[in-house]
């Protein structure tokens, strides 16, 4: 047994951020936060996904994830949350990606480079694909959102990570701030688990919290 090396963590973060980008786009599409017209069909993880072609939105998502990445690298991000809010900026839905360390780093990966091996990656890809598929059908288990929703991304950090975040800005003029209570608090949330994965390099689960009364 051993810890993941820094290099490996950065790889894990790469994989996760790539996945989160795809997932955020898909969530925005499936939950109709933006009109379907701005989305294009693409292929990722060997399944069809939707991706926005609005440059500013894409840039924003990219920037956000760029800022999330250092946190994941340090294993500081506990949850990455895509919050969909109604016109009054009260959250109606939260897509929570809960990230934790893999339960066991098996001895198989004795050298850092082995983590790059293809079987592992294809395995992880398989698991991520399942997430994507779950997201694309999640509208079946969720109630419709009220019109005029917007979204935001929150990160729940572990321990004292916020302190460092204050100091280091990954992208200039794109700082983290503490979320308002209003954005975090949801009235009578109901929890809908979507998917859980456990792989050798990361453990992640996705669930949706939904406001009981959406309108």
């Amino acid at each position: 047994c051993r810890r993941l090396t820094e290099q490996e963590y950065s790889m894990v973060a790469d994989i996760l951020c790539e996945f989160l980008e795809v997932a955020i786009h898909l969530i925005l599409y499936v939950r109709e936060v933006y009109p379907s017209g701005i989305f294009q069909k693409r292929k990722k993880y060997n399944v069809p996904v939707q991706m926005s072609c609005h440059p500013e939105l894409n840039q924003y998502i990219q920037d956000t994830l760029h800022c999330v990445k250092p946190l994941i690298e340090k294993n500081d991000a506990e949850k990455v949350v895509v919050v969909i809010m109604d016109k009054e900026h009260h959250p109606v839905e939260r897509f929570v990606f809960e990230i934790s360390q893999p339960p066991l780093l098996s001895i198989r990966f004795s050298s850092p480079l082995l983590i790059r091996n293809d079987t592992l990656l294809s395995h992880v890809e398989q698991l991520l694909r399942a997430f994507i598929l779950k997201i694309s059908v999640c509208d079946a288990v969720l109630n419709n959102n009220p019109p005029g929703c917007s979204f935001t991304v929150l990160v729940h950090t572990r321990d004292a990570a916020t302190r460092n975040m204050e100091k280091v800005q990954v992208i200039k003029d794109f700082p983290w701030i503490v979320a308002d209570e209003q954005e975090v608090h949801m009235q009578e949330p109901r929890l809908i688990p979507l998917k859980t994965m456990t792989s050798d390099i990361v453990k992640m689960q996705l669930y949706v919290e939904e406001r009981t009364q959406k309108t």
Binding site: P35, T162, M165, V178, L191
Partner: protein, 1127 residues
């Protein structure tokens, strides 16, 4: 420009300060009277105050304080306000916001009073323990540590902040929901979220000029992500039908908040990027908390508990109730055995009725009461017993108290009684003026400060009970004696007489048992009787019965009792209030409505001061008011159960049966007297002892519990170090932490390990602990088993009561053992013992032979459950200091143990030690011993085909897990002695073992007694603990989803009635899944169970599912703050 402006502001502030300094002497001169009580205090007045800001400014001038016109976080020490809007309260959390009376009162008193009781919002807890008031993963960006953070980061400057307020007006107005992708200031990223909510004056101060210039320059918001509207346009594709309405709304919003077109997009597309934080500032907390230097009135804590409980006779009285309950239980079982009992009272009653029949015919027609509950309550029990043989005291105001008669005692150094008095007084009277005063003994005239000084030195011995004459003079139970003496100078004090109480209570129960056995013991002087059958059988009306009972009691005990009667328990109890003193009252069903309407809500059982205050806040004072509140409203406010109860109670409805057999919901032991620890060790030791007390009580009641709660009282920050009452707890914050054990236990060791961990997790200063309590819930019991025993063991109630004595002694012994054991710390080198299937036992178990103790042991030998350390480990001097009797016991146990030793080391005892979680130092596991008597629970379980049998199949099927290997010796055995019956217990053991393994709940099966072992564990390199795998949760050894489904199906289809044990295992598995963050699987399993269980013909399955679901939802709620959506 901003810079200049900033310079101007700075100049203004300093000028104002100067002005203040100049004015001060002049003012002092004018006034004549001046002092320097406020030196070092700098106030900032926020909003309207009484007296006005000007007046306060003048007062500060006169008395050496400072007055800030602008708020400065670094310089202002206190904020003065009479009330604040909610947003400001949020903002100022952690700041000292104090009512202006603090200043006026301080001046009156001529010295600086502690500000604690003048805090504007009682909920301002201060910063003492941020780590524990916050859930680590709490989503709320812990307000209580915000100030810390503010100190840590760069300070902002007042001047340009207020400019910003005007420049960024649009932002201020909307910043609550605003977009922070607008980088207001690149230098203070985290702050802008909240700081600009504050009003202009309330700005933090002293930012360097460079920063202020950068502020202006970098004002350009980053292009935010496009909103829906924009995006739709940009895409140049079809507009959705709902589109047209969007721009309108958009305009509306933007008109409200942002007049500028530039901000239009901002307001709508509040895409944002941010993080909530939750840090455990433990080190800061430590430095913040005041150090406790005052002399501690404390004896060594080791023997404290047993001393407390053996000396506290009051405590014993409270335990009598269990005794009486059991007495009633026994009556029932005896009757079952004997097939009938003689009811002396009943016979007499019969005669009476017969006589009556002769006298006048046909009165029996009046008796058509369907159900009748009698509530018998002795009138001021302690007093009437106390003056039973002292007729000269009858009719005089008398109080029972430990005080020897003098009303005054000297004040101890460090104590500040006034502060506490005022605190309580404020707490109880201020929040809702005009509310019923719950704790009369804190009512002191505030205006008259002289008298307060007097009260300070009065005796604080509490009055346990006082006579009606004393009550007329305003004396109340629980009042301090000194105070009472002031109210009623004639007041006589009577000492406690526990023997007499016991005797009278016994008498009363015997009398009542002469009438019926349908008795519920409420306390030593309070009983509920279900008179329905008795009345029907004998044919008397309730009033006659009550009269007979009262006469009987009066005659035999010399004390008066009052009886309340009603159709249910609630009404009977309420009727008793009317009956008192020395009377009886039957509350007829037609009178109920009128009667109850005018009662204050606080007279309802279960409505204490806290709930009373909550209700008063809703405008509900009487039961009539409460009747106006809808059920849903009540349930929303107080939770489903309590809400329902309130709804019914205020209508006089109550369907609780009179339970002669009380099912206990929790077992606990608490102490909040004389708790003064100086070291962590002491606290740990104390917890261990207290756990032993809990163990004792659990075993007495024959119960085992799973949920362990640690309650602590912590000195409130700013409260006097030494409370007014000697050894008392003073002003405290009450905190509680709960942990779920992997399985039910009655072992003090397990409880101790769990609570010690909880204590550490709370990160408290042990010096500030003022009270500690341990509560065990989710009880399950060998109750039925025990009842059987009761039939055989013919114990009189006297034995029950006397039985307290030996157990107290055994408790004493625990303490001694504790003391000795702490001298021998096992070597840490042995700790990370590898899991070796080949040699299961010897290595580890030898190391701490004396400290091992299995739950099994404790069950088989009730009160003697604690193992004594081996001779070599005991300090001879300690042993010699023991009373001869105890010493003998200890020595005996040594000799016994020698004989037993092999037994303990038999292959059945297996010690496994694996480091588990980072926070759990290690696990020592012990398998049940074969040679030991079978667990009664298991015997009970055998007849039914439980999950156990199914489990076994699974166990054979998959044999991969490490647990398997560890248990293999057992398994072999199991295969060889195959008859099914002997199998069951062993399987059970493995089953438990596996569950223990699979659980990574906080529970720890550490079986050492020695609390210091936990401190020796950290030697394990952290990396190891972190990397060790947490095995996947398993149900009966099955991990795979299909296996679990099969298992569940088999369980549901083959068994008609699920056993609680099995249900709990399923719940446990579900909880494990939550811990393991595998909600997906949890969801699948819940859905599957819902399908198969609700389909089942047996409604019990449906109920079982509801039970499981309820439990799971609670845990989900705890972990995620929301509940599962079940379609």
């Amino acid at each position: 420009m901003y810079k200049m402006y900033g310079g101007y502001m700075a100049a203004k502030v300093s000028k104002l300060d100067e002005q203040f300094k100049l004015d001060a002497p002049r003012e002092k001169h004018k006034e004549g009277a001046c002092s320097s009580i406020f030196s070092g205090v700098a106030i900032y007045v926020n909003g309207y105050t009484e007296p006005s800001a000007d007046e306060l400014r003048r007062l500060m001038m006169l008395h050496g304080g400072q007055f800030h016109v602008y708020y400065s976080r670094s310089k202002t020490t206190h904020i003065i306000a009479n009330n604040l809007p909610n947003s400001k309260i949020q903002e100022l959390k952690g700041e000292k916001v104090i009512r202006p009376e603090w200043i006026t009162d301080s001046i009156k008193a001529g010295r600086l009073l502690p500000y604690l009781q003048y805090m504007l919002y009682a909920k301002q807890k201060g910063l003492l323990f941020p780590g524990m008031t916050l859930r680590q993963t709490s989503e709320i960006a812990g307000p209580s540590h915000r100030p810390l953070q503010l100190n840590a980061r760069q300070k902002l400057h007042l001047p340009q902040r207020s400019i910003q307020a005007s420049v960024l007006n649009h932002e201020q107005s909307s910043s609550g929901c605003q977009n922070n992708s607008v980088p207001v200031s690149s230098h203070t990223p985290l702050s802008n979220g909240h700081t600009h909510l504050v009003n202009g004056a309330l700005k933090p101060d002293d930012l360097s000029p460079e920063q202020s210039s950068s502020l202006g320059a970098e004002q350009r918001p980053k292009p935010p992500p496009p909103n829906y509207h924009e995006a739709a346009k940009a895409s140049e594709s079809h507009l959705l039908p709902k589109q047209p309405q969007t721009p309108n709304q958009l305009d509306k919003i933007s008109n409200k908040t942002h007049p500028s077109p530039a901000s239009l997009s901002l307001s709508y597309s509040s895409v944002r990027l941010n993080g909530s934080h939750h840090n455990a500032f433990s080190s800061d907390a430590a430095s913040l908390s005041t150090t406790n230097t005052a002399a501690t009135p404390d004896p060594p804590t080791g023997g404290l508990i047993s001393e407390f409980y053996s000396h506290s006779r009051l405590h014993q009285i409270s335990t009598w109730r269990t005794g009486f309950s059991e007495y009633v239980n026994e009556l029932h079982s005896k009757r079952k055995v004997a097939g009938g009992a003689c009811f002396a009272g009943k016979d007499r009653l019969r005669k009476l009725v017969a006589q009556r029949h002769v006298d006048s015919q046909g009165t029996s027609a009046a008796i058509n009461v369907k159900s009748c509950i009698l509530h018998v309550d002795m009138d001021c029990f302690f007093v009437s017993v106390g003056i039973r043989h002292r007729p000269e005291l009858k009719g005089k105001p008398v109080a029972v108290t430990s005080n020897r008669g003098q009303a005054r005692v000297p004040v101890r150094p460090g104590a500040n009684p006034q502060v506490e008095m005022q605190y309580y007084q404020r707490k109880y009277t201020n929040p809702q003026p005009g509310e019923i005063v719950m704790s009369d003994h804190f009512v002191i005239e505030n205006s008259d400060s002289d008298r307060q000084y007097e009260t300070a030195s009065l005796s604080m011995a509490e009055i346990a009970s006082c006579s009606y004459e004393a009550r007329q003079a305003g004396v109340r139970n629980g009042m301090f004696f000194g105070k009472a003496k002031q109210l009623c100078p004639m007041l006589q004090s009577v000492p406690y007489d526990f023997e007499a109480y016991k005797e009278v209570a016994l008498n009363m129960y015997e009398i009542l048992a002469g009438y019926t056995h349908d008795i519920e013991a409420l306390s030593c002087d309070e009983v509920l009787i279900d008179g329905s059958t008795l009345l029907a059988e004998v044919g008397v009306n309730p009033d006659d019965l009550a009269k007979a009972i009262r006469a009987d009691i009066r005659e035999k005990t010399g004390c008066c009792a009052s009886v309340g009667m009603g159709s249910n328990i609630l009404l009977a109890r309420l009727a008793t209030r009317k009956a008192k003193p020395n009377g009886q009252h039957f509350l007829k069903s037609e009178e109920v409505d009128d009667f109850i309407r005018d009662l204050p809500v606080t007279s309802l059982p279960g409505v204490g001061p806290v709930m009373g205050r909550k209700l008063a806040a809703m405008g509900v004072r009487s039961c009539g008011d409460l009747q106006q509140v809808s059920l849903s409203q009540l349930q929303k406010k107080f939770g489903p159960r309590t809400g329902q109860t309130l709804f019914r109670f205020c209508r006089g409805l109550d369907d609780r049966p009179v339970r002669y057999e009380k099912e206990r919901k929790s077992v606990s032991a608490e102490m909040n007297y004389n708790i003064r620890f100086t070291k962590v060790d002491e606290a740990e030791c104390f917890l261990t002892n207290l756990s032993m007390e809990v163990q004792k009580r659990l075993q007495e009641a024959g119960l085992r519990g799973r949920r362990v709660t640690l309650k602590v009282m912590v000195r409130k920050v700013g409260a006097p170090v030494e409370p007014a009452k000697y050894g008392g707890h003073g002003i405290c914050d009450n905190l509680a932490r709960t942990v779920m054990l992997a399985q039910s236990t009655d072992s003090g060791q397990l409880i101790a390990t769990a609570v010690i961990k909880l204590l550490h997790a709370m990160k408290l200063q042990v010096q500030d602990l003022r009270g500690v309590g341990i509560q065990v819930q989710l009880l399950e019991g060998n109750q039925s088993v025990r009842q059987d025993c009761n039939v055989l063991r013919k114990r009189s109630i006297k034995d029950l009561l006397l039985g307290q004595e030996p157990s107290a002694k055994s408790n004493n012994r625990d303490t001694h053992q504790e003391k000795t054991s702490s001298t021998t710390v096992p070597s840490a080198s042995s700790l990370p013992h590898p899991l070796s299937p080949a040699e299961p036992v010897p290595g580890t178990s030898k190391e701490q032979p004396a400290f091992r103790q299995t739950p099994k042991h404790s069950r088989s030998r009730l009160n003697l459950s604690i193992e004594v350390p081996s001779p070599s480990q005991v300090d001879r001097s300690v042993l010699e200091a023991l009373p001869a009797e105890l010493r003998e016991q200890v020595e005996q146990s040594w000799t016994k143990r020698d004989g037993k030793q092999n037994n303990c080391r038999s292959p059945g005892t297996l010690l496994l030690q694996i480091p588990n979680q980072p926070d759990s130092p290690g696990i020592v596991l012990e398998l049940p011993n074969f040679s030991q008597p079978k667990n009664p629970l298991l015997q009970l379980k055998q007849p039914g085909v439980g999950l156990g049998r199914v489990k076994r199949r699974y166990k054979r099927k998959n044999a991969i897990s490490p647990v398997k290997k560890g248990a293999s010796p057992l398994k072999k055995r199991q295969m060889t002695n195959s008859p099914a019956k002997t199998l069951a217990p062993t399987v059970y053991g493995i089953w438990n073992l596996m569950n223990v393994f699979s659980s990574h709940m906080v529970s720890l099966f550490q079986t050492e007694t020695d609390p210091s072992t936990s401190s020796s564990h950290p030697d394990i390199p952290e990396s190891v603990t972190k990397l060790i795998a947490r095995p996947a949760p398993a149900l009966a050894g099955a991990c795979d989803l299909t296996d679990i489904k099969t298992l569940l199906r088999e369980w549901v289809t083959t068994i008609t009635e699920p056993m609680e044990e099995d249900i709990l295992q399923v719940v446990k598995y579900c909880t494990d899944l939550i811990e393991d963050k595998d909600l997906e699987r949890l969801d699948l399993i819940i859905k599957y169970m819902k399908r198969i269980m609700q389909q089942s013909v047996e409604s019990v399955w449906s109920m079982a599912f509801d039970f499981i679901l309820d439990n799971v939802q609670v845990v989900v709620q705890q972990a995620y703050g929301s509940t599962l959506k079940i379609a």
